[in-house]
Symmetry: C2
Subunit: 262 residues, 2 copies
Amino acid sequence: MSEVARSGCVVFGSGNVACALAPALEEAGLHVRQVYSRSIANSRSLADVLAGAQAVDSLDSVCRDAELYVVALSDNAIEPVATAMTGTGGLWCHTSGGVGAEVLEPAATGYGVLYPLQTFSKKREVEMAQVPLFVEGCTPCVEEKIKELAEKISGHVYHADSAMRLRLHAAAVFACNFVNFMWTNADDILKAGGCGLSVLEPLIRETLSKALSMSPRDAQTGPARRGDTVVMQRHRQVMTAEQSRIYEFLTHSIIREYRADR
Amino acid sequence: MSEVARSGCVVFGSGNVACALAPALEEAGLHVRQVYSRSIANSRSLADVLAGAQAVDSLDSVCRDAELYVVALSDNAIEPVATAMTGTGGLWCHTSGGVGAEVLEPAATGYGVLYPLQTFSKKREVEMAQVPLFVEGCTPCVEEKIKELAEKISGHVYHADSAMRLRLHAAAVFACNFVNFMWTNADDILKAGGCGLSVLEPLIRETLSKALSMSPRDAQTGPARRGDTVVMQRHRQVMTAEQSRIYEFLTHSIIREYRADR
């Protein structure tokens, strides 16, 4: 099939990333022709919010003449889809932080990655224009095409190879998943006293502003940083055994980090 | 000395809290008469930004007829000052999250706490009107006086007894000190790849918004939450031994937390 005849876009997936990206592709001027999900209910619920997209639940039904295929599936579902769609052609990208671009090679000669560095939930709308997009192409020419596409979606487009993408993904675990878990513990400590995390909001926002404007290493404060063992002992009084375990572990890690300063 | 003759305020300390609070007291209409610090250079540098405040470095020089004494010293310096100033009278408050109000008892019959829940640095100006202030008084009448004072400084004044203040302080360690340490690790992982924490800013801000609007427990995502061991193994490739240790510890803690959900 000649490249000229190709048109529109297929989105694989109906999860949080697909639900954020598909409308953004439409707003960027692309026609989303099909949404694929193993569950037809899920593909329909995404297709229904798009203009004239067909919901499909079988890879046999996926059209083979689209210009663009966006694979927004969970990491381990990407390769099987690319293999099932061998020789389809067009431009293929997946959206994963932790998977190499080359898993898409069976599907087309032009493939790459469009990785949105954001946490998406169907319940919350995210302004895609502000989301950093990291792109990679199997050739400089393919990367340029993905970059042009990405720039229609967001004002923050960067190149990242697989190694860098893995760093971004691992760093995001520390900066967001682990951080969120710290907030869960703080929330629990406060709830046991009758309030909740929101009372810490101004403090949390200032801590973030400091970390971004100085550097988190220089911005570190607190009893662990100061080596204030009296305060640390008192804190244990209001913690569960598991909270104390985390507190002790991270305190020692901070002490090791700053040992040379003391 | 009669209560009528008392006037103005003395600030003990020249650190981050004192430097944020003293100008706020002035803006609230109080005359800061003296700033005490063991280092005259430090007390001078704070007194110099106040209208007509005297810098002192000896407790013998501190006036005994002030209306208000604000003790913004490090935790272990509060009690010695209160003892040295035995029988001074007036209204006394300290600003510590981890120390009981009663350490001020030697100094006066009217004492309490005015605890600002914020991280202060001399380099960064903080809008005091937005800082949550937690107050406690040795009697309801004294607490009312401290509350009135606090409300002149901030629109967010709450009561907190020593037990609640300890919870707030311990929760703040999780929500801010430990979180900042996570950001340091993320920053290091990214710097080894040529970028830095700022690339994660939209993701961090959205993570915080989700934690505050849902609840951090419900907002938890990531490979530990999903039990995605393949991704977790790959992440180790871009981490130092110490980062891996933290990663493993917190991953197991998150897995334990959500075990019942799996």
